[in-house]
């Protein structure tokens, strides 16, 4: 985190010049809990960013990236958040799938898929979870079989965010009959717009629909649209998740900081700042923000050395729990008006309150996070799977 480059200044100037006009209404929008805001305009904004070369700045130069340093990526994400840029419709393609293709894909896959991501014209979503593979992610039932040079896919994925706005989905499916758990899986790249695929939005308690069910009934992709080989699906899927712990968490934190400021400011205006207990909670929320930021820096610095440091495992549960508590604080700061829907709609803080209940669940529940921490960071023994006395004795 020592020397600075001019990327921050360059990007900041670009945002200042371009994130305005018709895009003004996207300011601070399309964050989690609000992802259905202005779908068309958001995709247009992605193309704007792509055209200006601001997608894939962290990719290697060979694939059109700028090979930006960690420090620059942090700056990039911070500037984006500071300018109030909307939630990135392309982030799954850009920060998860693209690095996976670059690391594990064939040259043909790189040629086929990276340009559309980079241009902000092709969007991706993630096909991991299934109704019976939630916390137990390896319990995949979706099947893929090879027939006449094509993969035929049958099954169901769930909790797929952004599916309605996406062009492609990457799918973890079971290719070997009779295989269980992490074996026999494949990682496939599948076009969404085909007859064998049906997308149904899942309405959440916040009234919005960030997540979807995706049904596969004889859906198809080319034989070549597999990353790795048959049986490598689990490895690729996990490698992709590894890219998630990136500099974008710092951008997320700036969104959180913005939400926090809104709440503190409301408390100042409506007099709740006089309440000693609200003061404690405001101060603790602020401390949590600072702690998240420094924990992310520790993790990022450590991951530069190639090792994932232990404190990295706490990031998900910490931010999720923090954000859920922030939602409760927001309601308490609103006071009596917290219950009223102005214009019959949830306002931003009410949405935060409702949506944040899913934060501690999606992407690995708090319970699963504690398991992971106990086993990977602390080296404690694994939980027995079924087959103890519970099922058979």
């Amino acid at each position: 985190m020592s020397q600075t480059s001019n990327l921050r200044a360059e990007f900041s100037a670009w945002m200042h010049a371009n994130f305005c006009g018709e895009y003004e209404c996207l300011r601070g929008r399309a964050t989690p809990g609000d992802e259905d805001a202005f779908p068309g305009l958001r995709l247009k904004w992605e193309r704007e960013m792509g055209a200006a070369g601001w997608i894939g700045v962290g990719w290697p130069k060979a694939y059109g990236g700028r090979d930006a340093s960690l420090e620059d990526l942090v700056s990039f994400n911070e500037e984006y958040a500071r300018h109030g840029g909307p939630g990135r419709a392309g982030h799954i393609g850009e920060t998860l799938l693209a690095p996976t293709i670059i690391a594990y894909g064939t040259e043909a896959q790189k040629q086929k898929y990276l340009p559309g991501i980079k241009a902000g014209t092709e969007f991706w979503c993630q096909g991991y979870s299934e109704p019976n593979a939630g916390s137990d992610l390896s319990n995949i039932k979706t099947k893929a079989r090879l027939e006449n040079g094509r993969w035929i896919i049958n099954g169901q994925k769930i909790w797929t965010s952004l599916a309605m706005d996406s062009d492609y989905i990457f799918v973890v499916a079971r290719a070997e009959d009779g295989s269980v758990g992490r074996c026999g899986l494949v990682f496939l790249l599948v076009k969404l717009d085909q007859v064998g695929i049906d997308i149904r939005p899942i309405k959440q308690m916040s009234g919005t629909a960030e997540f979807n069910e995706v049904f596969f009934e004889g859906a198809m992709c080319d034989e070549a649209d597999i990353i790795g080989g048959i049986g490598d699906g689990w490895k690729i899927a996990m490698a992709l998740l590894g890219f998630e712990r990136g500099a974008s968490t710092l951008g997320q934190q700036m969104i959180f900081a913005d939400e926090f400021r809104q709440i503190a400011s409301l408390a100042k205006r409506n007099g709740m700042m006089q309440d000693p207990m609200i003061r404690q909670r405001i101060a603790k929320a602020y401390a949590g923000l600072k702690i998240m930021r420094f924990t992310a820096l520790r993790t990022l610095e450590a991951s530069q050395g190639g090792e994932l440091s232990k404190e990295g495992y706490m990031s998900k549960i910490f931010w999720a729990s923090w954000h859920r508590d922030l939602g409760e604080l927001a309601m308490d700061v609103m006071g009596a008006s917290a219950e009223i829907l102005d214009d019959g709609e949830y306002n931003k803080l009410q949405k935060l309150f409702l949506f944040s209940r899913s934060d501690t669940i999606y992407g690995g529940t708090n319970q699963i996070q504690r398991n992971i921490i106990a086993e990977r960071a602390l080296g404690m023994p694994k939980e027995p799977r079924g087959g103890g006395i519970v099922i058979k004795g």
Partner: protein, 353 residues
């Protein structure tokens, strides 16, 4: 049947539960109310309060009631809480019935209480003491009742008057709220002619507080009923949901969380039953404890239930969110739990040396 209830209580509970769980219909009931855009169900009122006779539960036998007092009301409110059925029971058969019983003249009692007992009158209560311009913004069920009972300052005393909701100049504006299953209204009575207001009786601030605070017990019972329903749903889900080749109910993290939910609910239940049974001198303190504890418990339990259900827990399709929103709304009802505890602290410090 378990203490403090008798077999008679238990029969009433079963009758109420039968009706209300049919209404609830696995969550279809609250969803229907949400879809209707009106946060009350007048048909259900006719069946529950009238035909089933539940409105009579706490009314004195002399006026056609069952004389089952706070304990009887607790039974009904627990079941209302478990179903989220949108009925003005708490205001009609709680606050207003108690007000008339406590401060009404014989004549008024004879007139009103039998109507309430028969389910023929629905009533809302409105505290207008500090209202600016004869307007308040937080009256529950005002848009679905026959009569509004308004308490207001009259010199040093407090006066309670009734206003028929069809009175000219009475403006009742229902609000959209996060909890869609309980009506919540702004009421403006500035245009009501004095002739349309009937004086029910006079009282003191202290007596009024004592009467109104009995409704804290009902609110607390609603919380216990809702929380228990959420725990039941969670236990059922955990028993059938398999992950890692085991029902998740067999994981200690789930078991212990459910155990904590159980402790929390049973503690709230004890507080509610104790308040229902409390002697008049202890009523205010016991009601404060019951309400503060149960409101916190309900919010915690609904949050836990969502968490333990995983993904499905935060979907609209699954009815947990209705309970969560009710629990959250109850945190703002009759003032917050921290305020209750602060009042309780004042009572405690008055008492110790």
């Amino acid at each position: 049947m378990a203490y403090p209830f008798t077999d008679e209580h238990e029969m009433i509970r079963m009758a109420a539960r039968g009706f209300l769980q049919d209404w609830y219909d696995g969550g279809a009931g609250p969803e229907r109310i949400y879809q209707s855009g009106k946060a009350y169900d007048s048909r259900a009122w006719a069946g529950f309060a009238g035909e089933l006779g539940m409105a009579a539960i706490a009314i004195d036998e002399a006026y056609g009631g069952a004389s089952l007092g706070d304990l009887g009301r607790v039974i009904v409110m627990e079941e209302l809480g478990a179903s989220l059925c949108s009925l003005p029971f708490l205001t009609t058969c709680g606050i207003v019935a108690d007000l008339i019983d406590g401060i009404g003249t014989d004549e008024i009692k004879q007139d009103v209480l039998p109507k309430i007992a028969a389910g023929e009158m629905r009533a809302a209560y409105l505290d207008g003491h500090d209202a600016k311009d004869k307007r308040v913004y937080n009256t529950v069920y005002a848009d679905c009742v026959d009569t509004i009972f308004l308490s207001r300052r009259a010199g040093d005393a407090i006066e309670v008057v009734s206003i028929p909701t069809e009175a000219n100049g009475l403006i009742i504006t229902p609000e959209k709220t996060m909890d869609p299953t309980r009506s919540f209204c702004a009421v403006d009575w500035s245009g009501v002619a004095p002739l349309d207001m009937t004086v029910i009786g006079k009282t003191t601030q202290i007596q009024l507080n004592e009467i109104v605070m009995r409704s804290f017990i009902s609110l607390a019972a609603e919380c216990v009923g809702g929380a228990q329903k959420c725990l039941d749903m969670t236990l059922e889900y955990a028993a059938q949901r398999v992950q890692f080749d085991r029902p998740i109910a067999s994981f200690q993290a789930i078991k212990h969380r459910c155990a904590d939910m159980f402790i929390c609910i049973e503690a709230a239940r004890s507080a509610v039953y104790a308040a229902a049974l409390a002697a008049p001198d202890d009523k205010t303190e016991a009601a404060l404890i019951a309400k503060a504890y149960a409101v916190d418990a309900y919010f915690k339990i609904t949050g836990d239930a969502i968490q333990l259900h995983g993904g499905i827990g935060f979907t609209w399709e699954y009815p947990l969110h209705f309970f969560f929103k009710r629990a959250r709304a109850n945190r703002s009802m009759f003032g917050s739990a921290p305020r209750d505890y602060d009042r309780l602290a004042t009572l405690i410090f008055e008492d110790v040396a």
